[in-house]
């Protein structure tokens, strides 16, 4: 792929093809569903992958547009972000990632706040990120419902993959401290337990009597208790992770852990609970409750046999978002083999989010989401040279 670095005119290069049929041919095609393929081809038809294989084994129609790259990978999956709710300007009008009026608001839906035209969505897309799990930030014991979206589309409806993915909760230092929030860790745990108990009672009442008035907050928590969607609990300190495990065991909901800066202290407990973990961005700042974070946490968790993904997380200042490509690169630089690190932001992330039948690897029948690079994607000096979502080239920026 030819490119010239004309920094101020990069955006002009973006000329999306609207047809959902194309092929990507890469000197090294990393499918995450088998060994990398030298001179490999992905054939996308109607937005879905029709064939994957060595260029010699896949006969493409002569008229099919073919994008070429040195390296192609599955479109990257950011397992937890706030992009689209939290905007780049960091002004009141573009910060919808947290409502501070109550510490318990499971009724808030990400789809009612997501801005698909947010520049940070375009920013992530230009590095090969095609799927994001986004929603409310840590900072409330229950902050709201998350969604899964593609990083394309002009409306929420066009972007959305899963309208209601998880319920975001937090047992961390941002969620306590008074001023409308619980004042202590114990209090945070107590109000979470009380709310879950209330939801259990509500579900029983609704089952007993259909005329019981609907309560949007309790309804979604009842679905959590019924196992229909997981509770995503942000916890960084070891004791907070323990509390999350304790409450999950008490109420029997599906737990996904988030952050987990000190997870390496609890490998046996996490393994016993077999809980998926969305680790904090590798390069997130090490201070306060993340002071003990390790760049080797993804490696240690994977070695323990856990299902692990990486996230861009929530940033309150500069940079306003992180990029999972960079976070995975730092994990790769700290003890993970290339494909294990790439898995954190592709197939393993898709598994944690429950969308691995659609995204996360290049396999026949899955969405035609591909990221194109001009070298090792993890090297800081490599460029993302194109991004394809469901067969549409949504980014041709060289970045």
């Amino acid at each position: 792929m030819q490119f010239v670095l004309t920094p101020l005119a990069l955006a002009l290069l973006a000329l999306p093809t609207l047809c959902q049929d194309l092929a990507v041919r890469a000197e090294r095609l990393i499918t995450m569903a088998g060994p990398p393929i030298a001179d490999g081809v992905v054939w996308i038809e109607g937005g879905k992958i029709k064939a994957v294989g060595a260029a010699g084994d896949v006969t493409l129609p002569a008229s099919l547009p073919v994008l070429r790259a040195k390296v192609a990978t599955p479109g990257l999956v950011d397992a937890h972000t706030v992009v689209g709710l939290a905007g780049w300007l960091n002004q009141d009008h573009d910060q919808d990632q947290l409502d501070r009026s109550s510490p318990l608001q499971p009724e808030l839906r990400a789809i009612d706040a997501y801005n698909p035209r947010e520049p940070l969505v375009e920013w992530l897309r230009s590095f090969g990120v095609t799927t994001i799990h986004t929603g409310h930030s840590p900072g409330a014991v229950i902050a709201g419902q998350t969604m899964i979206a593609k990083t394309a589309g002009d409306t929420v409806a066009e972007a959305v993959v899963v309208e209601r993915a998880m319920v975001a909760a937090a047992l961390n230092e941002d969620a306590v401290g008074g001023d409308g929030k619980p004042g202590t860790r114990s209090k945070a745990a107590a109000i979470l337990r009380a709310k879950l108990l209330e939801a259990a009672n509500y579900a029983q009442k609704r089952a007993d009597d259909e005329a019981t008035p609907r309560d949007l907050a309790l309804e979604v928590l009842a679905d959590v208790l019924a196992g229909e969607l997981p509770l995503l609990i942000t916890a960084q300190r070891a004791r907070d992770i323990e509390t999350a495990l304790r409450i999950a065991e008490e109420f029997g909901f599906r737990l996904v852990l988030d952050g987990c800066a000190e997870a390496y202290l609890l490998l046996e407990e996490l393994k016993a609970a077999n809980v998926p973990i969305i680790v904090h961005p590798t390069m997130v700042r090490a201070y306060d409750e993340t002071e003990n974070l390790s760049l080797e946490t993804p490696k240690l968790l994977l070695e323990a046999g856990l299902l692990v993904a990486l996230q861009s997380g929530y940033e309150s200042y500069v940079p306003k978002t992180r990029v999972v490509l960079f976070e995975a690169a730092m994990a790769a630089a700290h003890g993970l083999a290339f494909e294990r690190a790439l898995g954190l932001v592709t197939i393993d992330a898709a598994r944690v989010l429950g969308v691995d039948e659609r995204v996360g690897s290049l396999e026949v029948g899955k969405d035609g989401d591909v990221a194109l690079y001009d070298g090792d994607p993890f090297e800081s000096t490599t460029h993302c040279v194109g991004t394809v979502i469901e067969g549409v080239r949504v980014s041709a920026i060289v970045r």
């Binding site: 670095l5 920094p7 101020l8 905007g87 780049w88 300007l89 960091n90 002004q91 520049p119 940070l120 920013w123 000190e262 390496y264 202290l265 390069m283 700042r285 090490a286 201070y287 002071e291 003990n292 974070l293 390790s294 760049l295 080797e296 940033e315 200042y317 500069v318 940079p319 306003k320 978002t321 992180r322 990029v323 960079f326 690169a329 730092m330 790769a332 630089a333 700290h334 993890f378 090297e379 800081s380 000096t381 490599t382 460029h383 970045r399």
Partner: protein
């Protein structure tokens, strides 16, 4: 011996190698040397270190190895100068308080925690010299400090001095939104910000005139000492460089306008929109220390921040350095800033210079650090590969001929990779038993 006495002996013994100048020459041979100086890159080169200085450097057939030297084979490794960070907040130092937007009398020297784990992490990132600054919430938040990231017990162990024994540092200034607050005496607008700064420098000019008049005339008394004006006079004289936080293109030009009016020496810091006014910056020959951030935004002034800023400034002929602004970016990942700038079009050579010799120039320290040259401080880092590769590790960091970071040492590795206790203060001098304080 009592336990306390044992401890005291332990400290005394273990301190010695860290602080005394090496009398036995140390010879490092076999590594690829990126000197960042006139010698360029040297394959399988030799560096001779003695008394904390580089006493010889060159190709293996050019350098005579002293008979009594301690030698180390670094074949396959890469050695380059210790990195110089023009803008850091490591050590939790503070500057001015809420009393006034202009507080040049306040010194970060009086607040820095010399034992901060941040210093250990910076060593792990290969940084040996830093300009530690107070924040940007004031038009002038105080005097900055040029330090070496030595294993210091006290702040004095980290300082750099000039030939007269003066502590070296600059002056931190800022414009744009950070110093603007809704309440007086802080400015509410950009024009007010500039007016306050101009009035202050006019006062400094008048103070300097009185000082000069008193120096020329025995009959005249000098003015009463004013700690703030003294620092500003040093800025007017060019002995104290102004390090100016500025993001937006118009704010950048305001800094240049004030520098023209008062003649202070200035380094522009952050310079998010520098790519919009690169020609103007180049015409004024003002150096830029830029920050490399993973995404634009986070504040209004950073919305047009570009990864390409370094490349655009380089092409315009502007002197460019990078900085961490730690904790905005982590000192351990400083090399990555250069790699991302290369990704966006900067040349490799200029990007590496922007981590070493250019920042040294911006701190007036290029005669001592920033390149591997005879007579300069023996500040260098040992890498296991290309400095711009994400997979490369800083294996060792040396300052004044003493090794301050060794990835093979468990405590140093903890600071490099993180883990339980990585946020705790260091207790230098206690390395013989690295966990003695637990």
């Amino acid at each position: 011996m009592t336990k306390l006495l044992q401890l005291a002996v332990l400290i005394a013994v273990s301190l010695t190698p860290a602080f005394a100048a090496d009398e036995t020459p140390l010879v490092l041979h076999g590594a690829r040397l990126l000197t960042m100086g006139p010698a360029g890159n040297i394959e399988a080169g030799v560096v001779v270190v003695q008394g904390g200085k580089i006493v010889a450097i060159g190709a293996s057939d050019e350098i005579a190895i002293p008979a009594n030297a301690e030698t180390r084979d670094l074949a396959g490794k890469l050695v380059m100068p210790g990195l110089v960070d023009t803008h850091s907040h490591v050590g939790g130092g503070s500057g001015g308080d809420g009393a006034d937007p202009i507080q040049p009398d306040v010194r970060v020297l009086d607040s820095l925690n010399a034992r901060s784990a941040g210093i250990q992490r910076a060593q792990a990132g290969g940084i040996t010299v830093a300009n530690v600054m107070p924040g940007s919430g004031h038009l002038c938040s105080g005097q900055t400090l040029y330090i070496k990231y030595r294993d210091g017990r006290t702040i004095d162990d980290l300082l750099l001095h000039d030939a007269e024994g003066n502590v070296l540092g600059g002056l931190k200034m800022a414009n744009g939104t950070n110093p603007m607050r809704s309440k007086a005496p802080f400015p509410g607008t950009r024009a007010k910000s500039a007016a306050l700064v101009r009035q202050t420098f006019v006062r400094a000019q008048e103070y300097r005139a009185k000082l000069e008049a008193a120096a020329d005339d025995d009959e005249q008394d000098p003015p009463a000492r004013d700690l703030g004006l003294e620092a500003l006079v040093e800025a007017l004289e060019g002995t104290r460089i102004v390090h100016h936080h500025t993001h937006r293109h118009d704010d950048i030009l305001t800094v240049l306008r004030l520098a023209d009016e008062f003649g202070f020496r200035v380094v522009l810091h952050h310079v998010s929109e520098g790519w919009k006014v690169a020609e103007e910056i180049a015409a004024r020959n003002v150096p830029c220390s830029i920050i490399v951030i993973d995404a634009p935004g986070g504040k209004l002034e950073a919305r047009d921040l570009r990864l390409e800023t370094g490349a655009v400034l380089e092409r315009a002929g502007v002197q460019v350095a990078f900085h961490t602004d730690d904790w905005i970016t982590d000192s351990r990942h400083f090399l990555r800033s250069a790699a991302l700038a290369v990704r966006a079009g900067m040349t490799r050579q200029k990007a590496l210079e922007a981590l070493t010799i250019e920042p040294a120039r911006m701190l007036d320290l290029a005669d001592r650090v920033g390149s591997l040259e005879v007579g300069k401080d023996a500040d260098f880092i040992v890498l296991d590969g290309d400095p711009l590769s994400i997979y490369t590790k800083v294996e060792e960091t040396w300052i004044d001929g003493a090794k301050v970071f060794d990835r093979k040492r468990p405590q140093d590795r903890l600071w490099a990779t993180g883990g339980f206790g990585a946020g705790h203060d260091a207790n230098p001098g206690c390395c013989a038993r690295q966990d003695w304080w637990r």
